[in-house]
Amino acid sequence: MGYNVLIVDNSMIIRKMVAKILSISDLDITEYFFAENGRQGLKQLDENWIDIVFADINMPEMNGMEMIEEMHKKNLMASTPVVIISTERSTERISALKAMGIRAYLQKPFVPEEFARVVRELLNP
C-alpha cells in the first residue's frame, strides 16, 4: 500500500529535497502533494487523502504552528502524523510543538538517512 505525502515549505529547494529523499528511500510513496504555506497545506488536506505531513514552521501567510492549530480544530492530528522540519532551535518552541502533537522534529540540515528512518518508523510502527 502506497502513501500520500504532503510537503509544506515556502522553500522550493526544500520541497524538492524532501521529495527526492523519499523517492530514493525504500518507502512506497504513491503521490506527493506540495504547499508553500500553512493555508495551502490545509487546502491540500481538505482535498486529498494525506498519510503524512512534513512542514516547516517559518512560512508566510500561515506558519507551521498555525497550520497545526487548525489541524487540531479539524481533528486531523490523531490520524495524520506531522513531522516538523525546521531551523528552529528554541527549546521552548520545540517543546510547544511536541505538546501540540507532532510526531517528530527534524532540524535542518538533516541527514537523508535519518530523515528516511524517522519516516519509516512513523509509517510502519
Binding site: 515556502n10 522550493m12 529547494i13 526544500i14 508566510p60 528554541s90 527549546t91 535542518k108
Partner: protein
C-alpha cells in the same frame, strides 16, 4: 609586547597571542598581516560565522568553507544577495549573504543531487535563501543559546550586478569566505 598571530587552517581561523605563548613567529607570504583583514579581525563574530556556514554548507551540500581575508576585488560576475532579519525581546539584527550566481547554482545542484539534471528556475536563489535561513537559526543558537526565542523574517534573494562586488568588499562589516574556491560575503549586524 603582544603579537597577534593569524593561523589559517583548512577549516577554521585560529587566533593566538605569540607573546603569551612565548613563541617566535615567522610570517609566510600568505599569512602576512593585511589591512583589510585587520578591520574584519576586529569582528569577533568571524569565528562563529565560519563555524556556522561550514556546518551548513557541509551538511546541506558537501561544500567546504574557509575564511579568505585576501579576497580579490575582481567581480565574480552576477550575484545574488539575500538578507534575513531576526528579532527577540532582547535583540534584533540581520544576517546577509552575497554569492555569485554560479555558486548558488552549484549549491542547488548539490542539495538536490542533481548531477547533470536541469534545475528548475529559481533553484539557485532558493538554495541561497535556505542556506541563509538555516545559518541564521544556527548562528543565533551559537551566540545566545536555545533559551531565547527569535522570530525570523522570510529571506528573499535578489540579483546584484557584479560591479557592486568591489564596493561591498570595501565595507569592513562583511566577512569574506571561499566556498569550494568561490567567494562569498557575509554580514552579521546585531542591534
Amino acid at each position: 609586547m603582544c603579537v597577534r598571530v593569524i593561523v589559517i587552517g583548512t577549516r577554521r581561523l585560529d587566533y593566538a597571542h605569540a607573546h603569551d605563548k612565548g613563541e617566535s613567529v615567522t610570517f609566510p607570504e600568505k599569512m602576512k598581516f593585511n589591512k583589510r583583514w585587520a578591520g574584519r579581525m576586529n569582528n569577533s563574530d568571524n569565528d562563529v560565522l565560519l563555524k556556522v556556514f561550514s556546518a551548513v554548507f557541509e551538511g546541506f551540500a558537501f561544500m567546504f568553507v574557509e575564511a579568505e581575508p585576501d579576497l580579490e576585488p575582481d567581480s565574480p560576475g552576477a550575484c545574488f544577495q539575500a538578507e534575513i532579519q531576526f528579532t527577540s525581546k532582547e535583540n534584533k539584527g540581520l544576517l546577509e549573504v552575497v554569492a555569485p550566481a554560479g555558486l548558488c547554482r552549484e549549491l542547488a545542484e548539490n542539495i538536490l543531487g542533481a548531477d547533470g539534471e536541469v534545475l528548475p528556475e529559481g533553484a539557485g536563489e532558493s538554495a541561497l535563501e535556505e542556506v541563509l535561513n538555516v545559518s541564521c537559526g544556527y548562528l543565533l543558537a551559537e551566540k545566545f543559546g536555545t533559551d531565547r526565542i527569535f522570530d525570523l523574517s522570510i529571506p528573499k534573494a535578489r540579483s546584484l550586478p557584479g560591479k557592486k562586488w568591489a564596493t561591498l568588499l570595501e565595507n569592513p562589516q562583511y566577512s569574506t569566505f571561499l566556498i569550494d574556491d568561490a567567494p562569498m560575503l557575509v554580514r552579521f549586524v546585531l542591534k
